[in-house]
């Protein structure tokens, strides 16, 4: 209970501090307009921010706050990387890309950096990873850190799991499997949903009605629930026919997500179809494929590209969640969701062995980092294309 008491006391102290801060500011600066017109909320905010900053520095210097220190260091490193990357983008490259980087916020450049690194890891996983993804090594349960004094081994810098697979290699291969599969699934969903949506928008009539009602029905069931349901069925089929379960998962998630893409493509398409230039193209006697690919697609690029980023995040998270629940990507393929599930129990050792407890956080953090990066980039793109200045 004393924790709550301290919290309340701290809030009261900050509230009083805000009042004092404003008063002193008015006195010292001789009633400058900035302090004279300052609302109490702003003064409170300044003092709160100062208190939070002081509290963080105090916590950072504490012996036990290992995770907090890691988080702060990670944040600072991320900011420095983003800044350097943006600097690089501003000086190297074509005039167009330099211009793009000049107007970019730090978050977006960080997102692009993360995507580039992940793509690199995914493509060259086989060359980078020190061991194979399903290679069972002699030493099991090696602690991360590579320090023999704490049960580590310099040969396995991030340790090994319960049956002796190198975690670093599995993390790198996870980039290939999880990200690669999510990317293929998103492309498939876009191909199916996008083409059907444009078709429905251009042709209209009964095709539009049938497709739209079918999509309505499919969208009535929450995505993850539906995916789980279909995955159970697919598991049985996969066993019966000897086809890899992962292929079914790609198809199922592509089907579920293509309904969302269909909605967007149809809405965007309908806005474009009524334009005069489409009318002109129709009167010229152009065919359906020309209309869709040469007239509609170029005009729908911006919303579709943003949707692609968001959709990729959703697909990626769905796959990770399915794997976490045990019905997604199957062993021996290394996958981040499954790794979190397998290593999850180690979190309980955080009190005395923070390095060991970081094992489940690494794959989960890897998932989060990519989706955060993609979201930063999409946010920036939407902001730019909507022309919002505020």
């Amino acid at each position: 209970m004393s924790g709550w008491l301290w919290l309340i006391l701290a809030i009261i102290a900050i509230a009083a501090g805000g009042y004092l801060f404003r008063m002193i500011g008015q006195k010292v600066t001789g009633n400058k307009p900035y302090f004279r017109d300052m609302s109490y909320g702003v003064a409170f905010g300044y003092v709160l921010a100062a208190a939070l900053l002081a509290g963080s520095i105090w916590l950072y210097l504490q012996e036990g706050a290992v995770f907090f220190r890691w988080a702060v260091q990670g944040l600072i490193i991320a900011a420095i990387i983003a800044y350097l990357f943006r600097l690089l983008g501003r000086t190297v490259g074509t005039a167009g890309s330099r211009k793009l980087f000049r107007s970019m916020p730090l978050t977006a450049s960080f997102g692009i950096f993360v995507i580039v690194v992940y793509a690199f890891l995914a493509i060259f996983a086989g060359a980078i990873a020190p061991y194979g993804q399903d290679e069972i090594l002699a030493a099991a349960n090696v602690a991360p850190g590579g320090d023999p004094a704490f049960g580590g081994n310099p040969e396995y810098p991030m340790g090994t799991d319960q049956i002796g697979r190198d975690i670093l290699s599995r993390l790198i291969y996870g980039a290939q499997n999880t990200v690669g599969i999510a990317f293929i699934t998103t492309c498939l969903a876009f191909f199916v949903g996008g083409s059907l949506g444009f078709l429905a928008a251009t042709l209209g009539g009964w095709l539009d009605q049938v497709l739209s009602r079918a999509v309505d029905v499919l969208m009535a069931i929450p995505a993850l629930i539906f995916a789980l349901l279909l995955m159970t069925i697919a598991t049985v089929w996969a066993n019966a026919w000897g086809i890899d379960r992962t292929i079914f998962m790609v198809l199922i998630i592509a089907l579920i997500d293509s309904t969302r893409v269909y909605r967007l493509a149809r809405a965007v398409g309908q806005n474009i179809v009524v334009m005069d230039y489409i009318e002109a193209a129709k009167l010229r006697g152009e065919g359906l494929s020309y209309l869709i690919f040469k007239e509609m697609l170029p005009n729908a690029t911006a919303p579709l590209l943003a949707e692609f980023g968001l959709r990729f995040c959703f697909v990626f998270l769905t796959i990770a969640s399915l794997s976490f629940l045990g019905v997604g990507i199957q062993p021996p393929l290394a996958d981040w969701g499954t790794m979190v599930k397998d290593l999850g129990q180690f979190i309980n050792y955080a009190q005395f062995a923070p390095l060991v407890a970081s094992a489940p956080l690494l794959p989960a953090g890897a998932i989060a980092l990519l989706t955060v990066g993609v979201n930063f980039v999409v946010d920036w793109m939407l902001h730019k294309s909507s022309g919002l200045k505020e």
Partner: protein, 308 residues
């Protein structure tokens, strides 16, 4: 929708009868179990039987429980409704706790970020919410377990809830899953609140209110908020619907005895009636909340209430 669920569930090959009896089952034994469970009837008959039963509140009998009870020699059968009811209450409790924390929190944060827009506070909140939106639920759950259960034992990391627990005990055990879900939904609601208010700030009547000399807080709360209510209510209802899918993963992480966990377990043992019922409940709640969103946004907007 019920047809989709039923067809999907019945596509499961290798039905329950062969599964519980194993590989060496005789044909007679399989046939007798199928007859007991009504699996020998054609699919269409089973569908209408199930639908009629569901409408009367009878969700059927769990296959697994039936098998278990008849092995014990008991005659008391556990119906799906019996199995789901307590778990449904638990899930509703979790969703309720989450909503009571998340909704006021999200709306006040949204108002504050709209008030102090483009300041360091706004930017920090923007980055924070974007990160929490895009992290997987289990990542947030493990982070919370790490800081609030393992390093500083404030809340228990396992939410084993019993029916005869006191309310405060139950609240204490529900706190971590509820906080995880709060993090997941707050971000979206807050961003929508901020966007809806900022959208209105350019309108002439807000300009007027500001020129009258009202304080920024008063302008937002008294003038902008009532008009921004429709999109905000909409996004709240949608996020409550999202909570329903979110609970599956969170319940599994925290071993919370709710519907999500029952669903995942039943999916694993292919217990048809339970899977059907869970799917139906999830889908119904999803649709109802979406409907509620539409109705509430019409009620909150007089222009929609009196169509010309």
């Amino acid at each position: 929708m019920s047809i989709v669920i039923f067809t999907a569930v019945n596509l499961l090959p290798g039905d329950f009868a062969t599964q519980i009896l194993g590989q060496g089952a005789t044909d007679e034994a399989v046939a007798s179990i199928r007859k007991d469970l009504g699996l020998d009837q054609p699919a269409v008959a089973r569908y209408f039987g199930w639908l009629a039963g569901t409408l009367q509140g009878d969700l059927g009998i769990s296959f697994a429980q039936m098998n278990f009870q008849s092995n014990l020699g008991g005659t008391q059968l556990t119906t799906v409704a019996d199995q789901i009811a307590p778990r449904f209450a638990n899930t509703m409790f979790l969703a309720g706790v989450t909503a009571t924390i998340a909704v006021p929190f999200a709306i006040s944060l949204g108002i504050l970020t709209a008030l102090f827009r483009n300041t360091a506070f706004d930017r920090a909140m923007n980055i924070g919410t974007l990160s929490s939106i895009s992290s997987p639920e289990f990542f947030l759950a493990y982070i919370l377990i790490l800081f609030l259960a393992v390093l500083n034992p404030v809340f228990p990391s396992l939410s084993n809830i019993f029916s005869d627990m006191s309310f405060s005990d139950r609240l204490n055990k529900t706190m971590l899953p509820a906080l995880t879900l709060t993090l997941v939904v707050t971000a979206h609601m807050m961003r929508m609140t901020r966007a809806a208010i900022i959208n209105l700030m350019a309108s002439p009547y807000i300009e007027m209110a500001r020129l009258k000399g009202l304080s920024p807080m008063r302008v937002i709360v008294k003038h902008a908020l009532p008009n921004a209510l429709a999109p905000i209510i909409n996004v709240i209802a949608l996020n409550l619907a999202y909570l329903i899918t979110g609970v599956v993963v969170v319940e599994v992480v925290f071993v919370y005895p709710g519907i999500g966990q029952l669903f995942v377990d039943s999916v694993k043992i292919r217990d048809l009636p339970v899977v059907q019922a869970c799917c139906l409940i999830f889908a119904a709640a999803y649709i109802l909340l979406n409907l509620l969103a539409d109705v509430l946004s019409i009620i909150s907007n007089p222009r929609l209430r009196h169509p010309k």
